[in-house]
Structures are given as C-alpha cells and as structure tokens.
C-alpha cells in the first residue's frame, strides 16, 4: 500500500469526477454531524440560559422557617405557633459544627421606597453579613452589608436593580445618598445588579437589603426572626444534617422532633439535583439523537459506497487487469470513504459553528452557544473512524472483484 501525492490524486479524481455521487454520499455525514453539533451547542446555551436564573445562589443552602406544630408534645397541644429566635443562630453554630454560614433573615414585605419625587414599591430584608455566601450579589456600585453595619445598627441599605433604576432614573453612583422607606431614611451603600430568579424573599431586583439588627429594632421584632439560612462547610451534604438540626431546634422550642410540619426545611441541594438530572437527561437525549443521526449518515455512506462499488465493477476489474493489487483497490475505496467523510464533516462543523454564532448574535445576552474546540476535535476523530468503518464493507467487496468480471460486463 502506497500513500503519496499520486494516490491522493487518484482518490481525488475519482471523487471529483463523480460529483453528484460524492455529494449525495457526503450529505448524510454532513447532516448527521450538523444535528449532533448544533444540538450540543444549543443544549449548552439553553443550560447556560437557565443557569443564569440561579446565578450566585449557593447550591448547598438550607433554609429554616417556623410553622404551626401538628403534634402534641410535652403538654402542649398541636396547632401552636412558635418563632425562630436570634439565639438559634449561636445554638446551631455550637451544636452543628458542619455548618459554615448561619445567618438570620427578617422579611418586611410591601414597602415603598422614596427618593425625592420617585417612588417604587419593593420589599425589605434584614440580613447578616454572611448572606453574601448564600445569595452572591453582583455589586454595580458600593459594597454589601458588613458585620460593623450589623453591630452598630447603621441605617444603610443595598438596593436591587429595579429599585435603583426607579429611584435614580438619571443613573450614576447612588452611594451616599439617602432614600426613605416608610418613615425612616436609609443611606444607600451598594447597588446589586444580580438578576437571578432564585432568591430568598422575592427577586433580588426589588430588594432593599438592610442589616438585620436594624430591622429588628426599627420594626419591633424582639428576638424573633423569620428565616435562618445556612450553608455547609465544603464537602458536607446538607441533607444529612437535617435530622440533627431538627432535634436541636425541637429541644429549644419544645416541639416534637418528628413533627415535620412544625419546622419548614428547604434544601436547595435537592432542587439543584433535580435541575442537574434534568440537564443530564436532556444531554443524554442530545447525544442519542445526534449520534443516531450520525450513524444513520455513516450507514448511508456505506450503502452508497456499496452501490458505487457495484456500479464500478467494470472499472475495478479493469484496474485489476492492468495491474492493481487487491490491497491497492481496498485502500483506494477506504481512502475515498474517509476523505469524503472528513470533507463532509469539516463542512458540517463549519456550518454548525456559523449557525451557532448566528444564534448567539440573535439572542444577544452574552450566553455562549458555541461548541468547544475539544468537541470539534473529537468530532473529527469520530469522523475518521466512521469513515473507515463505513468504507470497510464496500472496500472488502471491491477487493473481491475479479479482473475477469471487467470483460463480462458490457
């Protein structure tokens, strides 16, 4: 078997001088690979678009909220209400050392914020400084609430994007200016541009975030808080801590530790796991359909090559009669198949990349739909293998053609 310019020319000639046949053969591969790549790119883009909704939200968060008890316990009747308390923060920190951040949340719904003539409705939340580890803000201006704000009861706030654009229609850095919420003035210290759709107590867009100690005193909350948000230390699975957290809270607040209704526990881990599984499923489908189409294309190539070999019986017979060895015939048909597959495949990769680029430009929200370079490289490798596999059966058949057959065929 030789491989040089001459044999390359011979292969190119055979393909180029039978253009329609080559075109039809290549199209199967072209379409199959295009489907696979386009769906892969599109799927990744879709995933990125959905993931944007969860942007910045810690995936291992647990949120606690109190509710009516549903079981009688230690002389209390069922249906009793209890409240989470600030003390619970230290208690949980001591009893459950696997927790990393524990932070209280006080929610104050339906507030109206005013700056001069501009008014906007939003919601207020009082949080601790470690809230940043749970809902990461994307600060456009300024900073987030810190420990000193909490300790010194500073009347400061971080405002969401919608609050900012409504109250400061002229734009610019609002830090240092004051806005009025109810009857209290707060100094703006930051603007949060996070547009994540997953957040605690309404969207980050419409939030006016203040230190929780300020919320406690201004709104007469006493020791009561509405929610406790927690994250685990790295490597800790929050679902495994749930039972212990329940026991700690039940002992303090005197409800039955087996009373599931008394304390609401939300585990975002599970939510994200569902999402993750969904995308694994979608990905699996993409690969299944894409590879399926690609294989169908390869089988198409094999089929057409088979017909081609049959059609070329005379030609191959002539070649054999004038001195081509069986191996030379085999390698020629194989090489034709591989070359055809690769050319069709490269065109397909270019077409997919172009279309995905167009899609990206059309959607225009900074999300990448493009396939990775690695994907393109592995697609190319796959093509070589597919081309060889598709050409093998026809090539073996061509190899078995006897030179005598050239003369029988008129």
């Amino acid at each position: 078997m030789r491989f040089d310019i001459d044999s390359c020319n011979e292969i190119l000639d055979s393909l180029l001088r039978n253009k329609r046949r080559s075109l039809l053969t290549g199209f199967g591969i072209f379409w199959g690979l295009f489907m696979l790549l386009f769906m892969l790119g599109g799927g990744d883009g879709l995933k990125a678009m959905l993931e944007k909704n969860f942007d910045g939200f810690a995936t291992n968060t647990t949120i606690l909220a109190s509710d009516l008890t549903s079981k009688p316990y230690k002389g209390f009747k069922e249906g009793r209400y209890w409240n989470l308390s600030v003390d619970d923060i230290d208690r949980l920190r001591m009893m459950v050392p696997e927790l990393r951040d524990i932070t209280p949340v006080i929610s104050l719904w339906g507030q109206t914020a005013i700056n001069g003539e501009n008014t906007v409705s939003g919601h207020m939340k009082g949080v601790g400084s470690s809230q940043v580890n749970i809902e990461a803000p994307k600060l456009k201006y300024g900073r987030f609430i810190n420990d000193i704000d909490v300790m010194q009861y500073r009347k400061v706030c971080v405002i969401g994007k919608r609050i900012y654009t409504s109250l400061f229609p002229d734009g610019g850095d609002p830090c240092g200016s004051f806005i009025r919420v109810g009857s209290v003035y707060f100094k703006v210290i930051g603007v949060d541009y996070n547009s994540s759709k997953v957040s605690i107590n309404g969207t980050a867009d419409e939030a006016i975030t203040i230190p929780f100690s300020v919320a406690q005193t201004l709104y007469h909350m006493g020791d009561n808080i509405h929610l406790i948000c927690m994250t685990g230390k790295s490597g800790v699975q929050m679902s495994t801590l749930e039972k212990r957290i329940r026991q700690v809270m039940a002992r303090q607040h005197q409800f039955d530790p087996t009373d599931e209704q008394a304390m609401f526990v939300l585990n975002t881990e599970q939510m994200f796991a569902i999402m993750d599984n969904l995308f694994k499923g979608v990905n699996f489908l993409i690969w299944l359909v894409g590879l399926g189409t690609l294989f169908a294309g390869a089988i198409g190539v094999s089929n057409i090559m088979m017909v081609t070999v049959k059609e070329r019986t005379t030609e191959i017979g002539i070649r054999r009669a004038i001195g081509a060895t069986p191996v030379e015939i085999l390698s020629q048909i194989l090489a034709e198949s591989i070359l055809l597959t690769i050319v069709a495949g490269f065109l397909s990769i270019m077409f997919s990349v172009m279309l995905l680029n167009g899609l990206e430009a059309a959607i225009h929200n900074g999300i990448s739909f493009q396939i990775s370079f690695g994907t393109a490289v592995s697609a190319t490798l796959l093509l070589v293998i597919l081309g060889a596999a598709a050409g093998l059966a026809p090539a073996l058949r061509a190899m078995r053609i006897k030179p005598v057959e050239a003369m029988h065929d008129e």
């Binding site: 310019i5 002539i318 009669a321 004038i322 001195g323 060895t325 030179p403 005598v404 050239a406 003369m407």
Partner: protein, 240 residues
C-alpha cells in the same frame, strides 16, 4: 518457446460442472502474431483468461519464458499482468471519468512510475496510435475506433512481452476494424511483442500469421497463415 501450455484443463464448478478446456497443448514463440478462433462456447475466452493470468486452471502446466504460472497470489498475479501482459478488450474498457492520456497512464501508475514520466510515456504512446490531438478527450467524446486505439496504447505503454486481445474488433465497423488490425499488425512487426487475438471473424484472423482453431475445449487445427489467404474474401478485408 515463450508461451507453453501442456495438457491444460479447466472446469467451471457450479450446479452443473462445465468442463471447458479439455487438455490444451500449445506453444507460441516470442514475437508471433497468432489468432485463436472458435465458435462461442468453444472455450476460446477461457483460454485467453488463463493466458492472461486472469483465471486459474485446474490441471496441466502453463509456462511463460519457462516460468511456471501456477497458484499465484492475487498480488503476484497482478504484478505479472502489470509487467508482462497488455490487454485489449472487445468493449474497450476505458475508465469513463478519465481522459485518454490518463487512461493510458493507469498501468504506469500501478507500476509506481512518477507522474511526469508517466505522462510523457503515455503521450508518446498516444502519438504512435495517432491520437495526440485527442489526449484530453474523455471516452464518451471518441468514436469506437479511437477508443480502441486508446486501449491499444494503454496495453502497449508498459512494453509488455505479450499482448492479449479479446475480440478487439467486435464492437467496430468493418473499416475501423481493418484500421485497428493494421495497427496491431504494425505493432507486432515493429516492437516484436507477442500478439494473441481471440476472434470469431475470419477476416480478422486472416491478418495473423498463425490461426489456432479451438473446438469444444480442444485444439482442432493450427493453420499457417503467413500468406494471409485464409479468408475467402481476400486478404486485408473484413466482412461484417
């Protein structure tokens, strides 16, 4: 003797085994111009296939230049065909998507001759068959006689010792047939290649110097035809 056959038998196996060659003894000298004549089914094509190492025989011996041609691998057979033998077919068997000069180049390609040299040799050979102007034309743009001349150029381009022609004029009219035969006779004379033609036309056979009649798998008679008087229509005419 360049070609020697001793008691060659060939049977086609199948549902009904067919004993085609029933002991052929034949010897052909270097540079001879020979025709094999016979009715269809007489075994003349089978004999040609065996002579051209395109087919295997079951029994006997076939020697070229004293070398036994037997039980060759496909690759060896291809090598022998490429180096020793040139073929001319009834239906020309040119490759349709290659032009004349590329068709002539093909045996040299399989010999591994570099491209430039291949092209030069092929062009020289086309010149000898008078087709220089048609070198870039494809087979479907040429007449039957021109196609057969391209095929002859292809058979000659490797300067084979033996040229085998299977009904070379079968698809041509009488005038073109005569032209082709003149060309073959000229080649035999000038280059000294052994030329074996299978035909059923007496006019064609009359161009050759020896006529081997094959009948039902055995050789019937061998006529000396150096006078070229075997045809009732006179020498150098072909009736169709």
């Amino acid at each position: 003797m360049q070609i020697e056959l001793h008691n060659v038998h060939k049977t086609y196996t199948g549902a009904q085994p067919l004993h085609v060659l029933k002991g052929i003894d034949l010897s052909i000298d270097k540079g001879e111009f020979v025709s094999i004549m016979g009715a269809s089914g007489s075994g003349k094509s089978t004999l040609l296939n065996i002579l051209g190492i395109l087919d295997k025989y079951d029994e006997g011996e076939y020697l070229i230049d004293g070398k036994l041609i037997r039980d060759l691998s496909e690759a060896q057979a291809a090598e022998y065909r490429n180096r020793l033998i040139g073929f001319i077919f009834q239906s020309f068997n040119l490759i349709s998507f290659k032009n004349a000069v590329e068709n002539v180049e093909l045996p040299l390609f399989y010999q591994g001759v570099p491209r430039r040299q291949r092209h030069e040799q092929a062009m020289a050979m086309l010149e000898r068959v008078g087709l220089t102007d048609w070198a870039e034309h494809y087979p479907n743009e040429m007449s039957g006689g021109q196609k057969q001349r391209v095929a002859i150029a292809r058979a000659l381009v490797t300067y084979p010792k033996i040229i085998l022609a299977d009904e070379p004029t079968g698809a041509l009219d009488s005038r073109t047939s005569a032209e082709v035969m003149e060309l073959l006779a000229h080649i035999n004379e000038k280059y000294g290649a052994t030329l074996i033609i299978v035909t059923h036309e007496s006019g064609v056979a009359n161009y050759t110097n020896r006529i081997i009649h094959i009948n039902d798998g055995v050789i019937g008679s061998i006529d000396d035809n150096r006078e070229h008087k075997s045809s009732v229509f006179g020498s150098r005419t072909i009736m169709k």
